[in-house]
């Protein structure tokens, strides 16, 4: 299989989605600010969407279903980003920081 025909191969997209997912997990684990964690979670959602779209293109009998599902993922991701950012701003207003190590009031 030639390297130039990679875009006609399901495995390429699955590996790309896995790599993006791994980068999202890495960012989510290591980031110290709420906004950084939110950025990493967007990467995870993008990976999930790519997986849906890849199976939609290559294996599913009805290619509209995966596109509709990816659209719903986008809508939920937009809602999640809005809520997460407003929570970030509220936390910043009360604590004057968005560092996850300083927001430990609930820690026993």
């Amino acid at each position: 299989m030639s390297i130039l025909s990679l875009h006609n191969n399901l495995t390429t997209y699955l590996i790309l989605a896995a790599v993006l997912f791994g980068m999202g997990i890495y960012g989510l684990v290591t980031r110290r600010t709420l906004v950084g964690m939110l950025i990493a979670s967007e990467l995870i959602l993008a990976a999930a969407s790519i997986n849906f779209m890849a199976f939609n293109r290559f294996t599913a009998p009805d290619p509209t279903v995966g596109q509709i599902f990816a659209l719903f993922i986008m809508a939920i991701a937009a809602a999640e980003a809005a809520i997460g950012l407003s929570i970030t701003i509220a936390v910043y207003r009360n604590y004057k920081t968005v560092d996850t190590e300083d927001i430990v009031d609930l820690k026993g």
């Binding site: 130039l4 790309l16 896995a18 684990v29 290591t30 190590e101």
Partner: protein, 188 residues
């Protein structure tokens, strides 16, 4: 076919030759977009300053939009550009400007162990998923349509109309809720 064998100046532009060149160009553009996606993702989860992370995220989303284009869905590619690059990235940039001053503490890994442990965790997850993807044979079913935009619209308003309405309500509640949360305590 070998284009140099053809006679004449423009003789090599045959239908087969053009299709071959188009395929090669599509493959090259795909590789570039793949690289853009991965590089953008690396910047998004590693950049020291959050503004650069958002720029990397936008780059990554641009690559993902191109990936959608290669997955036979120009409609989703357009929505990806509009919603993610146009709305989500800008919103995150605003949040950084409002809530995360640049002179704050480091954004990098906390503690000495966090970085390597995070890398190991993410690497194990990635390798596991790649192993699953490579070693599984997926059953390919025959297509019953080509996934046109018109069909997407019809399905959204018939088969998936309930979900469509629910997503609209979720978005509305998210907008109102985020306004209320962000406004709370503002008059102080």
């Amino acid at each position: 076919m070998n284009p140099t064998e053809a006679s004449g100046i423009l003789g090599f532009i045959t239908a087969d030759g053009l299709a071959g060149y188009a395929d090669a160009a599509a493959g090259i553009v795909f590789l570039i977009m793949l690289a853009i996606t991965v590089i953008g993702g690396i910047i998004a989860c590693n950049a020291e300053r959050l503004v650069r992370a958002v720029a990397g995220l936008a780059l990554c989303f641009l690559g993902v939009a191109a990936i959608y284009y290669y997955l036979n869905s120009p409609f989703l590619a357009m929505m990806q550009m509009l919603i993610y690059i146009g709305a989500v990235c800008i919103t995150i940039a605003f949040a950084i400007m409002l809530a995360a001053p640049e002179d704050s503490k480091k954004t990098g890994p906390s503690g000495a162990l966090s970085g390597p442990l995070g890398l190991v965790t993410a690497g194990l997850v990635t390798i596991g998923m790649i192993g699953l993807a490579v070693n599984t044979t997926f059953e390919v079913l025959p297509k019953i349509n080509m996934g046109e935009v018109k069909l997407i619209g019809i399905k959204l308003l018939t088969t998936y109309s309930m979900v469509f309405e629910l997503v609209s309500i979720v978005l509305l509640i998210a907008i109102i809720g985020s306004l209320i949360i962000a406004r709370h305590g503002r008059s102080k």
